[in-house]
Amino acid sequence: MISIIDYGLGNIGAFLNMYKRMNVPAKAVRTADELADATRIVLPGVGAFDHAMDLLDRSGMRPLLEEKVVGDKVPVVGICVGMQILADTSEEGQGRGLGWVPGTVRHFRSMPTPHDLPLPHMGWNDVAPTNDGGLFKGLEQDARFYFLHSFYYEPADPADSAASASYGAAFACAVRRDNVWGVQFHPEKSHHFGAMLLKNFAEL
């Protein structure tokens, strides 16, 4: 069962609707008990880094989530801030992230070569998959997704970048290490491109 972590952040309904349209069983989970039978995990999120970690801690699901992802190697994909909290730290907050894909989250204005493009990075941008482990299958030639963010992921090991996009400069808009994926954009709001990515995740 695909389990969508409902810890009070992100558009849970949009994910459920997408999977329902594909006839793929999925459910929202709010407690550790409900998470127990997860074979795929979607970790959504919007808003601020510390707030997301705080809510995840308070949900009571974190210990089992760690056990499933780190111990049992259950595939997980973090979305938007749900991706950013896969990192160790963020310039947006003081607290620690999950640290499943080592790296840090930076503000666009602290890119090595700063640009003065409008922020947030908002709208449809091209995505170039690299070392994606099949998440972008069928999207190698044309992948466009909807972005809405001012912070971006900088993986400690460049090999953990699963796809890149460009806004002023190239950045990792998807990361992957083993069974852990993260995407900065919103597949649940990216029409057929997003549907394909979520379908791929279900079939990994």
């Binding site: 558009n11 609707n17 409008p118 908002m122 709208g123 909807y146 029409h191």
Partner: protein, 258 residues
């Protein structure tokens, strides 16, 4: 390449979808949920839904309607109309809406922008500025469907809104609303140059050529339209429409190459 956003703007009045001219004479054009379903199929870049009754009637946003629209919407959705508190904005985001638009309440009490940004993040806070040209002189900010004038310069207010935490500015021309004569390119240029957040222009688009002209003038921005996406032909027959992906891509590339 980040693309300009081409955005249908849907107005809700007495539960139905309407289109106005000069912010007046709402004409019924259909059912909002049905329109959302059509724009899903057409894969529109985003959708803006504005309830034009809530503020003038002094009522709360209709959360049940918003929840219904958000559940149907498979593209990013921006809702506006009657939002006066950070708690309301948070509740709307919780319903599955990506962005919340505020206008009258932000003009009357600009700190509201910061309060909402603290609750839902700047990236989801949209400030809509309705603009009308004065009889003599430049443009001024209006609210309450254009009826209430404020002694505010739209460019200065846009900058103030961004300073307080707005993540996007939408500029809506009252004079051009429903006229399908093209955008106010001069005002678009002034706003675009004044702020470093995404900006979206609404009011006046009558054809894809008008959108192309806007992008040519101000680059990667949001180009929103009402009439263009709900009417077809000289007699304004109601037909929900949106450019197909190839046409849109060609137009965008041509406009940005210039």
């Amino acid at each position: 390449m980040l693309r300009p956003r081409i955005i249908p703007c849907l107005l809700i009045h007495e539960g139905g979808l309407v289109k106005t001219v000069g912010f007046k004479d709402p004409k019924y054009v259909g059912d909002p949920v049905n329109a959302v379903k059509i724009f899903n199929e057409k894969e529109s870049d985003e959708l803006v839904v504005l309830d034009i009754d809530a503020t003038v009637n002094g009522v709360e946003p209709d959360f049940a309607v918003i929840a219904h629209l958000a559940a149907e919407c498979r593209m990013p959705l921006c809702y506006g109309g009657g939002v006066r508190t950070a708690a309301q904005a948070k509740r709307i985001i919780g319903l599955g809406v990506e962005k919340v638009a505020i206008s009258a309440a932000a003009i009357e009490r600009p700190e509201l922008i910061s309060e909402i940004a603290a609750e839902i993040g700047s990236q989801s806070v949209v400030v809509v500025i309705d603009v009308r040209k004065k009889m003599m002189g430049g443009p001024e900010v209006r609210t309450h469907n254009g009826k209430k004038a404020h002694k505010l310069d739209p460019v200065a207010f846009a900058q103030e809104a961004v300073r307080l935490g707005a993540g996007e500015i939408v500029v809506n021309s009252i004079d051009l609303d429903g006229t399908m004569k093209g955008y106010d390119l001069k005002l678009a240029r002034r706003i675009r140059d004044a702020v470093r957040v995404p900006v979206t222009f609404l009011g006046g688009a009558g054809s894809l050529a008008d959108i192309e002209a806007l992008i040519r003038e101000v680059g990667v921005v949001g180009a929103s339209a009402g009439s263009l996406f709900v009417f077809k032909g000289a007699y304004r027959a109601v037909l929900i429409n949106y450019p197909n992906p190839d046409t849109k891509e060609q137009m965008v590339r041509a406009a940005l190459a210039a």
